[in-house]
């Protein structure tokens, strides 16, 4: 199929149409089965996926990198000298991202059909609204990837912020969900504002926000020196907010308050991917200079390690996954920072698949447990891993797919995660060999790799291995064990997406050779036609010699296996006990998440409250006082002028008013004679006028 603008427009707008149909029609005027809403949304994502499959994927290996840049881009906003042009662009990066986004979103939509049916034993009241938001989210992400300019990219970016707010706060009766939604919105907003400043700098110096023109502008030196660094840092700040990098990562774990498919959507295909995508794009067009890149690399590397260490002690299954997302995003930023955006995007893709699989798998578990607990009237937390255990036999399909995804995220060979993580680590190792003073970057990456394997297998062992409810605490522990024995595998609507996503977590789709990047590296690192030649230099280093690859492989696999082994000794075979560690100071620091949440609460939230209280008091005392005082003054002044104004009022003003009234009454008395109330009298006047008119006209034309 030809790759045309029409096709891209359908891909882009189908989810938006689905959203509009749902929000405006379904449930209000269209009274059909509740599934109707889901079908609309499935079509809204399914159609784009199908079109991408037949229209974009066949063009993957075509030599021309830019497939469609509109000849006459839409002149969208035209304000005199300010004119923004927008268009759609498909290059190699976009092609693979589109495939990933539409497929993962489709799987998440399918999964939600079953998952969202029930809330606390009742049919979900806002079923179609949920799907409407999912569709809007998908639209925003597709808009972001297809944009050829930073303006519509920013619009998609902000739309995603809105959708994340709506979806995280979907269970809005819960206070914690409300708080999490507001936290996500505000925290990412910090980054967004900085991003907007960055865009303004780019606009002011280059004079355009279209990516090809920005790339040319940077090449021509329209923006350079510290201004370039400043713009790069501002733009990166946006990515830090969206991709939940240190220090703006705190919203992502709290975002777990949303329904699990939302977590999968935010963590895999859309929201957090946007930040990495932006960073990779900025690297491509050259807005990240050496200084910015160093910051990017350190923030990314540090985040990878930092988040992995917090994940070690979490007990909520979704929170472990959330911190692992933060950590994996740190990897991607690290790859961007060392100039290896191919690896960053590769990991973005594979991570989207296996993280979506992990989240949906945990969703499947939570769903099953929720149902079982509900049947037994238990109030146990269906997300707490201590209430799980031994689910391997009860939910074999979920377990199998979950295990594949876990192997992938841990970087065990024969998985997609191994390929992409290896590429990142090799890139950072090569960078360190060139710049020995930045040794820490590689160290961050490798230690985080071992930690990842450890906490992910801890999760698997706690959830799926051992005896059911073996770690359950509290008075309901026995009842929990009884309920766990009745847990059933989820229906095919939920397991099919898991299987599809697990397939993409294997190596085979990405590369026939299980130990080297396959076609994907070729596609991603291929010259993008719209970029100036020199821009590809950044890509040149970041690969390093072949021996680096070998060493990376040995090291990363060794560390990952070490992590698995330690986790097995702790939690599977129980050779070692975690008690001493759990009582130590370090564990407490980790459980407090290094105190950052508390710090933000203390520094920003409480002060904001204090500020609003203070301004409330200011309002009450100073401003209200001033207004009342003014009123008092006016009242006093009025009394002294009463007699003057009274006289003027009576004689001049009243006289004029009465005079006008008298005049009008006389006029009315005359005119009322005409209004007889006899219709035929009026008609007689009308026809007389007509006859007169006829005479006049015929006289004029004689």
């Amino acid at each position: 199929m030809e790759l045309s603008g029409t096709l891209l427009a359908i891909v882009l707008f189908a989810p938006l149409v689905a959203f509009l149909i749902q929000i405006l029609l379904v449930g209000r005027w269209v009274r059909g089965p509740r599934v109707a809403g889901a079908v609309v949304s499935l079509l809204g994502v399914g159609v784009p996926f199908f079109l991408v499959l037949v229209g974009v994927v066949p063009h993957l290996f075509e030599p021309t990198a830019v497939l469609w840049v509109p000849q006459a881009p839409l002149r969208w906003i035209d304000l005199g000298p300010l004119s923004f042009q927008v268009g759609l662009m498909v290059d190699n990066t976009t092609k693979v991202l589109l495939f990933m986004v539409t497929l993962v979103c489709l799987m998440i939509h399918l999964f939600s059909v079953e998952y969202m049916k029930v809330r606390d034993g009742e049919p979900e009241p806002y079923y179609s609204r949920f799907f409407a938001y999912l569709s809007l989210f998908t639209f925003a992400m597709i808009l972001l990837t297809l944009s050829d300019n930073l303006l519509t990219l920013f619009i998609g970016w902000e739309l995603m912020g809105l959708c994340s707010y709506l979806l995280i706060g979907f269970y809005y009766e819960r206070k914690s969900a409300q708080d999490a939604a507001i936290k996500a919105f505000l925290t990412t907003r910090v980054g967004d504002v900085l991003l907007l400043i960055g865009l303004a700098i780019v606009w002011a110096s280059v004079g355009s926000l279209r990516l090809p023109e920005v790339a040319q502008g940077v090449q021509a030196g329209a923006i350079k020196g510290w201004l370039l660094t400043l713009a790069g840092l501002f733009l990166f700040a946006g990515a830090v907010g969206k991709s939940a990098q240190f220090p703006l990562h705190t919203w992502l774990p709290d975002a777990m308050e949303g329904p699990t498919p939302v977590s999968a959507l935010i963590h895999a295909a859309t929201m957090v991917a946007a930040g990495v995508y932006l960073a990779a794009r900025m690297l491509q067009v050259g807005l990240f200079d050496e200084r910015t890149l160093l910051v990017v690399a350190y923030v990314g590397g540090f985040t990878a390690l930092f988040a992995a260490s917090i994940a070690l002690v979490q007990t909520d299954i979704k929170r472990v996954l959330a911190y692992s997302t933060v950590s994996q995003l740190g990897y991607m930023m690290l790859a961007v920072g060392v100039g290896n955006y191919t690896a960053a995007l590769f990991h973005l893709l594979t991570h989207a698949f296996f993280k979506a699989c992990l989240f949906l798998g945990s969703g499947s578990v939570i769903h099953a447990l929720h149902e079982a607990f509900h049947r037994h009237h238990l109030h146990a937390d269906a997300q707490d891993m201590r209430n799980m255990g031994g689910l391997r036999r009860r939910m074999p399909l979920t377990f199998g797919t979950f295990l594949i995804a876990t192997l992938a995220i841990s970087g065990i060979p024969l998985t997609a995660g191994f390929l992409s993580k290896d590429a990142i680590l090799a890139g950072s190792l090569a960078y360190v060999l060139e710049h020995p003073q930045h040794l820490m970057l590689a160290v961050f990456g490798f230690i985080a790799a071992a930690m990842t394997a450890f906490y992910m297998f801890r999760l698997v062992f706690w959830t799926f291995a051992g005896t059911p409810g073996g770690r359950a605490l509290g008075p309901e522990a026995d009842a929990v064990r009884g309920a766990l024995a009745e847990v059933r595998e989820s229906s095919w609507v939920m397991t099919v997406p898991l299987a599809v996503l697990a397939f993409f977590a294997l190596w085979i789709f990405w590369s026939l050779h299980p130990a080297s990047e396959g076609w994907i590296a070729e596609v991603l690192s291929g010259a993008e036609g719209w970029l100036p030649e020199a821009a590809h230099r950044a890509e040149a280093h970041g690969h390093g010699p072949a021996s680096v690859h070998l060493w990376t492989m040995v090291l990363s696999v060794g560390l990952a296996l070490l992590g698995v082994l330690v986790a097995a000794l702790f939690y599977l075979y129980r050779r070692w006990s975690t008690e001493r560690f759990a009582q130590g100071q370090f564990a407490r620091v980790l459980e407090a998440k290094y105190g950052l949440d508390a710090l933000y609460d203390w520094a920003f939230v409480r002060n904001a409250h204090r500020l609003s209280q203070w301004s409330g008091r200011f309002d009450l005392r100073v401003i209200d006082g001033a207004v009342n005082g003014l009123a008092y003054l006016v009242v006093g002044a009025r009394h002294s002028f009463t007699w003057v104004t009274g006289a003027i009022d009576r004689y001049v003003v009243d006289g004029a008013v009465n005079g006008v009234a008298w005049l009008l009454r006389q006029l009315g008395a005359g005119f009322r004679q005409l209004q007889t109330g006899y219709i035929q009298g009026y008609l007689l006047v009308v026809f007389s006028g007509l006859v007169a008119l006829a005479f006049l006209i015929s006289a004029a034309f004689r």
Partner: protein, 101 residues
């Protein structure tokens, strides 16, 4: 040979009859009939001028519009008359002078 003048003569007659009915009848419905005659007089003019002067079908099209309009007008006017009858128990235009100034 029928010429334009013949048509105009007929339509003028129709118009005058209609006008007469509207001005003199003591029944609102009969007045309405007069209005219909006037409209049809105008229709006849449209068609005739279209045939003899303009050519084409513009006049006929306008004629069709007028017919539709007349239908709508009759519906509304009858509804109004019905309402007046319910309110005042008469449809004699001489007795419905509520709006006298």
């Amino acid at each position: 040979m029928i010429t334009l003048t013949h048509y105009l003569a007929v339509s003028s007659l129709l118009f005058v009859f209609g006008m007469f009915a509207v001005l003199t009848r003591r029944n609102a419905i009969a007045m309405l009939m007069g209005v219909e005659l006037i409209l049809n007089a105008a229709n006849l003019n449209f068609v005739a001028f279209s045939k003899y002067v303009l050519g084409g079908v513009l006049g006929q099209v306008v004629g069709l519009f007028v017919i539709v309009l007349a239908a709508a007008e009759a519906a509304i006017a009858l509804a109004i008359i019905l309402d007046i009858y319910q309110e005042l128990a008469t449809i004699n235009p001489d007795e419905t002078t509520e709006l006298k100034g």
